[in-house]
């Protein structure tokens, strides 16, 4: 019982007891998530366009950061060094295509994967030989300080209103984006979506409601006011059964509600797609989405700052940089000739070849883009924790992000990154404390991904039905 209490109740109590601290952890997690997302983005780009599971993405981050720092140590100013490093990454893409990929056309995916592991070793050795392996500091002129808004500068109600409106707006735009994606990926299997509510869901809903009712009734008998987490913990011992019951019931209900709504949405979309009445998505959606998300983020930051949640300026910069990168990439993919070619290759290699798209050229481009994304990630991670070997290990953290978001989805990489970032921070701080264990961070992301796989094997946004059994 104590274990259940620690697992299901105490973390939430602790969150409720200090909302400002919770906000702190949450935002810290979001910003870490942005960085995971950046690395995952590189994976997704290459996997989409060439089907190569590029394990070397992490070491490309390290290599880019090493090159940047090395150039700066030679006395080259930051902006020039960034441009030069970008050229180096382009060159790297050309060399990789020339030396490896063109020899391995038509090989098994796993062989290509192993080749990228070889590339990982090679680049690691190469970068270190070139620039030395000592830990370096990357100074990019963004202070590692906290953002503080003096009290009374902003009106709380206004900020919250803006926050809420822009959150709703971004959800709306995201929904349209998603609907569009679904429509594109529609096939007949989707017409066979499950019914809106299954008998099993009704059973679980009733069961959850019953448990919740029992819990609530029990708590009503001796309702307690929670002021501080520590006395609350002692007080809870006497009521733990009812509280646990209430929480379990609530969780079951929420789960059922999510399933029902997911099914209903799936059916609706499938029908809409079948009738082909979803209007084509145009430029306006992306601008709208961008504006809404930006407003959402800005007002969120302001709100957080007013709640006395401090925000690291450097991490904020990272988030903004990542957002800009994603928007540029989205425009690149949607609006340029090359982007169209990239999407064509991602859809079908042979068909793309047959309309005259050069596969090799596309591969160079996509590796170069992944290299640039790696450079951005390298700037951020390197600026935050110094340029050193461990930078290449974040690739391992990007893998569960991919599972969560789907191997082929750019928005999936971003949202997956955010979920993983927030989830592992919350797990580390709250569940780690409640259960008395530490370093949950090391495996939490993988376990989350593993559990997630059981329910949605293709990831959140994976368009293609993945090879499943």
């Amino acid at each position: 019982m104590d274990f259940l209490l620690a697992l299901l109740v105490e973390p939430f109590l602790a969150m409720g007891a200090r909302p400002d601290f919770f906000g702190q952890v949450f935002i810290g997690g979001l910003l870490t998530g942005v960085m995971y997302a950046l690395v995952a983005l590189g994976f997704v780009l290459i996997y989409k366009a060439s089907g190569v599971f590029n394990f070397a993405q992490g070491v490309m981050v390290l290599f880019a950061a090493l090159t940047l720092v090395g150039l700066m140590e030679k006395g080259i100013p930051l902006w020039a060094a960034i441009i030069l490093t970008a050229f180096v990454m382009l060159l790297l893409a050309v060399v990789i295509e020339w030396a490896i990929l063109r020899h391995m056309v038509n090989q098994d995916q796993i062989i290509l994967f192993m080749a990228t592991i070889g590339l990982t070793f090679f680049l690691e050795g190469f970068g270190d030989t070139l620039w030395g392996s000592n830990v370096k500091k990357l100074e990019i002129g963004i202070p590692d300080a906290r953002l503080v808004i003096p009290p009374g500068t902003l009106d709380a109600r206004l900020v919250i209103a803006v926050f809420a409106v822009s959150a709703l707006a971004s959800l709306f735009f995201l929904h349209r984006w998603r609907a569009h994606a679904v429509r594109r990926a529609f096939d007949f299997s989707r017409a066979l979506a499950p019914p809106a509510v299954t008998p099993r869901q009704i059973f679980f809903a009733v069961l959850g409601a019953a448990i919740l009712a029992v819990g609530l009734a029990g708590m009503q008998a001796g309702w307690l006011v929670i002021e501080d987490s520590r006395p609350a913990r002692a007080a809870l011992r006497s009521h733990n059964f009812f509280i646990s019951a209430a929480v379990v019931g609530a969780i079951v209900l929420v789960g059922v509600a999510l399933l029902v709504s997911a099914n209903a949405a799936g059916r609706r979309r499938a029908r809409a797609a079948a009738e082909d009445d979803v209007p084509p998505l145009h430029y306006g959606w992306f601008v709208g989405l961008g504006v809404a998300v930006a407003a959402f983020l800005v007002s969120g930051v302001a709100w957080a700052a007013m709640l006395r949640v401090t925000i690291n300026i450097f991490e904020l910069f990272a988030a903004v940089l990542a957002a800009v990168l994603v928007i540029v990439l989205a425009l690149f993919f949607q609006k340029t000739r090359v982007g169209r070619a990239l999407r064509a290759v991602a859809d079908d290699h042979a068909a793309a070849l047959s309309v005259g798209i050069s596969l090799r050229g596309i591969w160079v481009i996509v590796w170069a883009v992944a290299g640039l994304v790696a450079l951005a990630a390298g700037i951020i991670w390197g600026g935050k924790s110094g340029v050193q070997f461990s930078l290449s290990l974040i690739a391992l953290k990007a893998l569960p992000v991919l599972i969560l978001g789907g191997f082929t989805s750019v928005p999936g990489a971003i949202i997956g990154g955010l979920i993983i970032g927030v989830g592992e921070k919350l797990a580390e701080v709250y569940w780690g404390l409640a259960l008395g264990i530490d370093a949950i961070e090391n495996w939490f992301a993988y376990m989350l991904a593993l559990v997630f796989l059981l329910f949605r094997p293709q990831g959140l946004f994976g368009e293609k039905i993945i090879e499943r059994v």
Partner: protein, 375 residues
């Protein structure tokens, strides 16, 4: 000229289905086996045993296990290091706490069984996903188990440093000592673990284990089980249609594979490292073993031996080659250049022969069959 099967007629089904149907092959293999058992104990130095031969055998064992999973059943796993850790830690627990009288053979087999159970548990996602999704899912095993062994002091007998150390043990344990039930084995019962044990004894023990397990694996993959694995690998839906249950088949592949990896992990602790912590079974090991399987040849028992040889020997060669060539550089740079060369070689071999050394060996045999008159 010498390698010719013309005129060799099989008169029984058994002869036709033998592992080595051609007598020349049999002779070569037997000569090689005898040499492997006799030559190193007579001539090799301690360095050879400890730095080359023992790791070679242990990684061969792990590669055999992973090859069953990846090469024969087609399920990619990146959790090899973790399953080896399960073998190492469970053998440690079993021999120090529960069965101090049992010999290492039994301990190894038991820890293999424990690893098999854990392998089945982490093989469950394979029922829903394939390919790289599965590979990433098995990474969960890698990180979670490593964390578990690190954080729960019970696994290392509450040792404050968290390391596990191999106690002195013999091959068959108390029962083969004078007065035991298996007294006639007492001449075969030397001390093989602990730093003081003779490396030659360790080597022969490890070699015998690897040879027996390789034979078992060979027969397993030729038999009913292996054919089921291969059917699932080649096309799971078709396999299902002809009545192969994917659940049983995949989980049995995970169990068998983890059994081998568990034994390899236990061997690693008792015969090679003597004291280990979780770091010894990190993700690098997983990648190394996977690479052995691929460079050696997916779906080939011989390939596991060749792949392990490549991965164990190449770094040692590189370490010794650069100074031998008279290139004098500081240690850090040398390490980086070794990394580069190793990565470059990996890519090179994958480009030249993506089907691994086993395929090269087969081609060589084909050539030899016609030699010296290729037409």
């Amino acid at each position: 000229m010498f390698y010719r099967e013309a005129g060799q007629f099989k008169t029984s089904y058994a002869a036709d289905q033998a592992i080595f149907p051609i007598p020349q092959d049999r002779v070569v293999v037997f000569v090689f086996l005898i040499a492997a058992f006799v030559v190193p104990p007579a001539f090799a130095s301690t360095y050879w045993f400890n730095a080359i031969l023992l790791p070679l055998l242990i990684y061969t064992m792990a590669a055999l296990g992973l090859n069953i999973l990846v090469g024969y059943c087609g399920q990619i796993s990146l959790g090899t290091g973790a399953f080896m850790a399960v073998g190492a830690y469970s053998s440690y627990k079993l021999t120090t706490v529960y069965f101090p009288d049992l010999g290492l053979v039994f301990i190894f087999l038991m820890s293999g069984a424990v690893a098999a159970a854990v392998g089945v548990l982490f093989g469950l996602p394979s029922l829903r996903i394939k390919g790289f999704y599965l590979a990433v899912a098995t990474l969960a095993a890698q990180f979670f188990l490593q964390w578990l062994f690190n954080k729960v002091p019970w696994f290392s007998n509450h040792n404050s440093t968290g390391t596990i150390e191999s106690p002195p043990r013999t091959i068959f344990g108390k029962i083969a000592e004078p007065g035991g039930t298996l007294e006639f084995l007492s001449f075969l019962n030397p001390m093989v673990s602990s730093p003081n044990a003779s490396p030659a004894n360790k080597y022969i023990f490890a070699l015998a284990l690897v040879v027996l397990m390789a034979l078992a694996a060979k027969n397993l993959v030729r038999g009913r089980m292996g054919r089921k694995w291969m059917a699932i690998r080649d096309m799971d839906i078709a396999a299902q249609l002809i009545g192969i249950r994917p659940l049983h088949t995949k989980l049995s592949a995970f169990a068998t594979s983890s059994f081998y990896c568990g034994v390899a992990g236990a061997m690693m602790l008792f015969l090679y490292l003597n004291s280990a912590e979780t770091l010894a079974f990190s993700i690098t090991e997983s990648f190394n073993v996977l690479f052995m399987v691929i460079i050696g040849g997916l779906g080939s028992i011989l390939g596991s031996f060749l792949g392990a040889g490549f991965i164990v020997l190449v770094p040692i060669l590189l370490v010794n080659a650069l100074p031998a060539l008279g290139i004098d550089i500081d240690v850090a740079t040398r390490r980086h250049i070794e990394l580069m060369l190793f990565g470059g070689l990996m890519i090179f071999f994958l480009i030249v022969e993506p089907h691994g050394f086993a395929r090269l060996w087969q081609l060589a045999k084909e050539k030899l069959r016609l030699w010296p008159f290729p037409h």
